[in-house]
């Protein structure tokens, strides 16, 4: 059974349609990425799942039960985009506050707070006030407050926005540990490489609709971008590309697109050598998510 199933979600704010019949499903222990530009409807969807937005049409089911707006959702954890923390409380006090609000108390609360401090790497700063924390520390604590009560599904709205690469890495390590325990994750992002590298499946959202869904390979096929991109780095700059190539963005690079690597690549390399050029490096890769997004939505996804 799907952990989360959304069917035909529609929501209008005045004349603006934020969600337009969006549907998706999420399996147990899965990390699903919602990818889309700003204003695509990602945050509205997250808020609808959290019970903070009433849908005009459609349903949201958790473990087969249709969710009602504003009813408590103990199986759900929400990690908002802002660092929703009390700056004048310590890390421990913040965790205790949100733990109690989510139904934890007594020994169980103490155990979970201790786990969260370890998990987020903040055990040594447990009694420090949050206002003195770095951006990355706040992000980790923000995450910990949302998963403290061991929800089966965690919604993460742009969990890595505005953090440095090191903090981003540690946030994904934390998410990996959660998944290892069977927690399902749904995260929104507009970072292409993050979605490409971290998410098992991706739902491309645009104008409140799920434009495509699947693994990167499946998305490439859906976008009819089955070709492979070949990039050659040469020993010197060239002004004219050999037949079958285009000049790359950097001087001394050539770009080509092929569909059968085994059959077409030797011929390409032979043509380069025939021009008296030496190949320093070779890269063959599938179409990028950027290209998929462009093909599916007709526009660039800007970060």
């Amino acid at each position: 059974m799907a952990v989360l199933e959304i069917k035909g979600a529609r929501k209008d704010f005045g004349k603006t349609r934020a969600l337009d019949g969006l549907g998706l499903s999420l399996g147990e222990g899965e990390l699903l990425g919602l990818l889309g530009p700003n204003g695509a409807g990602k945050t509205t969807l997250i808020r609808a799942i959290a019970g903070r937005v009433r849908l005009d049409a459609g349903t949201i089911s958790l473990y087969g039960h249709v969710l009602q707006p504003e009813k408590p959702r103990p199986d759900l954890g929400v990690v908002p985009q802002e660092n929703a923390l009390y700056p004048l409380l310590s890390a421990r006090e913040n965790l205790e506050t949100f733990g109690k609000m989510n139904g934890l108390d007594g020994k169980r609360l103490r155990e979970r707070v201790a786990w969260a401090l370890e998990w987020s790497g903040l055990a040594e700063r447990a009694t420090s006030l949050v206002r003195a924390f770095s951006g990355g520390m706040k992000r980790r604590l923000n995450l910990a407050c949302g998963v403290l009560h061991e929800p089966k599904l965690v919604l993460l709205d742009e969990p890595t926005v505005g953090v440095d690469p090191q903090s981003r890495e540690s946030i994904y390590d934390m998410l990996g540990a959660l998944r290892a325990r069977g927690t399902s994750l749904l995260l929104t992002t507009h970072y292409l490489e993050e979605a490409e590298a971290r998410c098992e499946r991706i739902v491309v959202v645009d104008h409140g609709r799920a434009v495509a869904a699947g693994t990167l390979v499946e998305l490439v096929e859906q976008a009819k971008l089955s070709g492979r991109r070949v990039r050659l780095a040469l020993d010197r700059a060239v002004t004219k590309a050999p037949a079958g190539f285009a000049l790359g963005e950097d001087p001394g690079t050539l770009i080509a697109t092929i569909t059968d690597v085994g059959r077409e690549l030797p011929g390409l390399l032979a043509r380069v050598q025939a021009e008296g050029l030496a190949v320093r490096d070779l890269e063959v890769r599938t179409a990028s998510l950027q290209a998929v997004f462009l093909a599916l939505t007709g526009k660039e996804l800007r970060e």
């Binding site: 704010f13 808020r47 959290a50 019970g51 903070r52 937005v53 009433r54 707006p69 504003e70 408590p72 959702r73 103990p74 759900l76 929400v78 908002p80 985009q81 802002e82 660092n83 929703a84 923390l85 009390y86 700056p87 949100f98 609000m101 989510n102 139904g103 407050c145 949302g146």
Partner: protein
């Protein structure tokens, strides 16, 4: 460059309605409120409002009755000679004791007793041995003086009607009054700083209203920081959140008032310990209403700036009207009645009953009832306004 900065600032002001209201409407509103209270017709300091006074005629002679009639005819006084203890009950003629009780209760600021022999002393300019007695509440310093002065005018009129004045030759100037009188305060005689209790209550009520409005702004901060969103997705809900905030604001206000009164006790000899039960009742009720009032302002405002403007306007206006800056009993009857639209006027009345009139706890029932009524209305209103934060 300077012109650019000026133009930018005006452009931004033109687009910020809240700032425009704060800049132009609030000063006009304040001016109007203070002009009504302190200016023409709003208070008794300028003599346009009548002083209520109980008159007890113990002499019961033709001359004393003429004096009472002259007092009743005076446009500066509202004379009561009978009391109606209950609605529908027959009127009873006032006695010295019942008049004194009325002054002590705060029903009237002063009572005038005309003892036996007053009739003969009218117009004697100190020649007669009998003095009229003014029983007054010293919290209203104007009323007794007005009654004393107007008594002389009435005595002169009564004397003129009854055959003229006598005994002016060879008298001391201070003694030369148409009718001599003495004054006795029926409250606060033993206190060293009798008005401290009044001002402590006035300032305390005003500041807990400011404080509750400011602390209620935490709701707006929670919206901005995202913690409100997180709280609302937990099991707590909006009603639980508002009740939690209300209890916090109430305990904060109780602590503020207590600290202020303890300071008053230690430094200004405010008799706090002697009036502890009444103080506790009034402080808890006033704090409950002030906290709920703060929540209404916070749920009504969308930004900190809006909250600040609204709080300044409402708190200062309600307190000017409610008597924190200028005693209500010095205001006109109309303004005194109008001021009861604010819970703070009831709160001040309650504190004055406790510290000034030394009234029993049961006498606080009207004030406690009204303040708790305001509290319930404020809480319901705040809950209604907070719906904008619930699921869209």
């Amino acid at each position: 460059m300077i012109a650019l900065i000026v133009r930018n600032a005006w452009t931004q002001l033109r687009r910020d309605r809240a700032a425009q209201i704060l800049a132009f409407v609030v000063p006009i509103a304040f001016f109007s409120i203070f002009a009504v209270i302190f200016g023409g017709g709003g208070n008794r300091m300028n003599g346009t409002s009548r002083v209520a006074v109980a008159v007890v005629d113990e002499d019961r002679t033709e001359k004393s009755r003429a004096l009472v009639a002259a007092l009743e005819a005076d446009s500066g006084l509202h004379v009561l000679t009978v009391a109606s203890p209950r609605q529908g009950a027959p009127d009873t003629t006032l006695t010295r004791e019942s008049a004194e009780r009325m002054v002590k209760r705060g029903d009237l600021p002063a009572a005038l007793v005309l003892p036996p022999g007053t009739g003969a002393a009218i117009g004697s300019f100190g020649g007669g041995g009998v003095k009229a007695l003014i029983l007054n509440d010293p919290s209203d310093p104007v009323a007794a003086r007005m009654v004393g002065g107007l008594l002389q005018r009435a005595a002169l009129r009564a004397a003129a009607a009854g055959g003229g004045v006598t005994g002016m030759a060879g008298r001391d100037a201070d003694e030369m009054l148409p009718l001599r009188f003495e004054q006795r305060a029926v409250l606060g005689e033993k206190r060293e700083s009798p008005m401290v209790a009044f001002y402590a209550a006035g300032i305390a009520v005003m500041f807990i209203m400011f404080s509750a409005a400011s602390a209620g702004g935490a709701l707006i901060e929670e919206t901005e920081s995202g913690t409100l969103e997180r709280v609302l997705t937990s099991g707590l809900g909006m009603t639980g959140l508002l009740l939690g905030k209300w209890v916090y604001l109430m305990t904060l206000a109780c602590a503020q008032v207590t600290i202020m009164f303890v300071w008053g006790m230690l430094v200004f000899k405010l008799p706090l310990l002697q009036h502890l039960p009444g103080f506790i009742v009034m402080t808890v009720c006033t704090a409950a209403a002030a906290a709920a009032f703060g929540l209404v302002l916070a749920t009504l405002s969308r930004t900190r700036q809006q909250l600040s403007g609204l709080a300044n306007l409402l708190v200062l206006s309600l307190n000017a009207l409610g008597g924190s800056m200028f005693p209500r009993f010095l205001m006109s009857d109309t303004l005194q009645r109008m001021s009861l639209i604010g819970f703070n006027a009831w709160a001040l009345d309650g504190y004055i009953k406790v510290f000034w009139r030394e009234a029993p706890l049961s006498a606080l029932a009207p004030q406690v009832g009204a303040i708790l009524g305001f509290t319930v209305v404020f809480l319901l209103l705040a809950r209604r306004l907070a719906r904008r934060w619930e699921a869209a």
